[in-house]
Symmetry: C2
Subunit: 247 residues, 2 copies
């Protein structure tokens, strides 16, 4: 048996999220369906770096699975891409050692969030960026981001439904850059809790609207309660951009 | 009655083209449907700069219609955008004199064609650029484009089904530029025949593949027969980019 690592992208618009669910179209369901075909009807379990919600996109999601098929990496890409639906694509395939795990070996992850700032809605980005045509004080948002960097208990910045107990995470980088009318927010961290990036974005937007002062971020973190942070930004602006492993 | 000019964009993926057809979802059908609502059930005829085929996009299609409603231009944008489906958006509204006509007043039009040149298919551009992962000699394509500039009989470069007799058109500009893995081809002319841009693109692609020599373009024009030009490039890479009028 060989362990295969795949880097995939998907357009989240047509999926009820990454994780397999009965009677729903999911990324995992589609991917495992293709592997079943390739393995003559045998089920192959796929492991991802993590889940993504409905309408959340991936530019560089990472999966692994074990296979007895003797196919070279370049042929894997062609074979998978010819069988996968057109809203999932494989960009990279590589054989890994048995101790590699798409989820447990993760060192850091990068998410990006795109905001379309043009006045009227843009038909081409309607599913790929959050349309927010109002004023934003970007310098204040950058100042606020400084308070989020480093190691914190992010209880205030995750869904109240989060079941995991350890909410301490480290954010290495937050970067905001604009190109034409599009604002992109980049988040790199050792891990992110449920809805965490979308709540960080929603809160930074409220900072940009001058509803929240940058220095209040420190207090919101200390409160350890979801009710103090901003709204959860919509799913369709979010991209799982890159997953990093030791190599 | 006031004559209103609208600049609209649409994602062509969900339409059976611009022009209204029974039992099909069309841009004109959706737009006229919104105007009927705004005019208390009265039908309002919309005139466009020209038709676009199924899956062809518009970044700057121009329409006009006559109305008795006394709405200022900025309110027209908001009203139309709130009623139109999310794959059609109005970017500009302006009152015009009665002698303005979206089709007959056109001075020139710009079309763009996008080609995605990355090796593996890209899920995010699958409906918005033609995926062509093969070698292209861009310099030869630019050389070939020079032979297309100016005033010619473009019979060889329009659909054999074209009914219009006068196939003489003037192309003012053809520009090819690359950004990341995307090649954009810009065409500006006084008018374009049925399928003309897609056949020009398909032919230039064959020049890029070195199947056709740049100087052969001159001969293809002279043959005045569709069979000598290249294939018709797919619709989903094409954008009606801008329509220009005297002002």
């Amino acid at each position: 048996m060989k362990r295969i690592k795949c880097v995939i992208s998907y357009d989240g618009s047509g999926f009820s999220g990454y994780q397999i669910q009965p009677n729903k179209r999911t990324v995992q369901g589609e991917f495992e369906g293709v592997l079943v075909k390739m393995h003559g009807g045998n089920e192959i379990k796929v492991h991802a770096s993590g889940r993504t919600d409905a309408n959340v996109h991936a530019y560089g999601q990472v999966l692994h699975f074990d296979t007895s098929l003797a196919i070279p990496s370049t042929k894997w890409i062609k074979a998978l891409n010819s069988l996968l639906p057109d809203d999932i694509a494989v960009s990279h395939v590589q054989q890994e050692d048995k101790d590699f795990h798409a989820r447990f070996s993760v060192v850091s992850k990068e998410y990006r969030y795109k905001i379309s700032r043009q006045q009227e809605r843009d038909v081409f980005s309607r599913d790929y960026a959050y349309h927010f045509p109002y004023e934003l004080n970007i310098e204040r948002m950058r100042e606020a981001a400084q308070y989020l960097l480093g190691t914190h208990d992010f209880t205030s910045f995750c869904s109240a439904k989060t079941e995991i107990e350890d909410r301490i995470r480290t954010i290495y980088e937050i970067e905001l850059f604009q190109y034409n009318n599009e604002l992109t927010m980049r988040f790199v961290g050792n891990g992110f809790l449920y809805n965490m990036v979308r709540i960080l974005v929603g809160t930074l937007i409220e900072v940009g609207q001058e509803k929240i002062f940058p220095a209040q971020i420190k207090e919101i973190l200390e409160k350890k309660s979801r009710i103090y942070a901003g709204k959860t930004a919509p799913a369709h602006g979010l991209y799982l951009w890159q997953v990093n492993y030791d190599n």
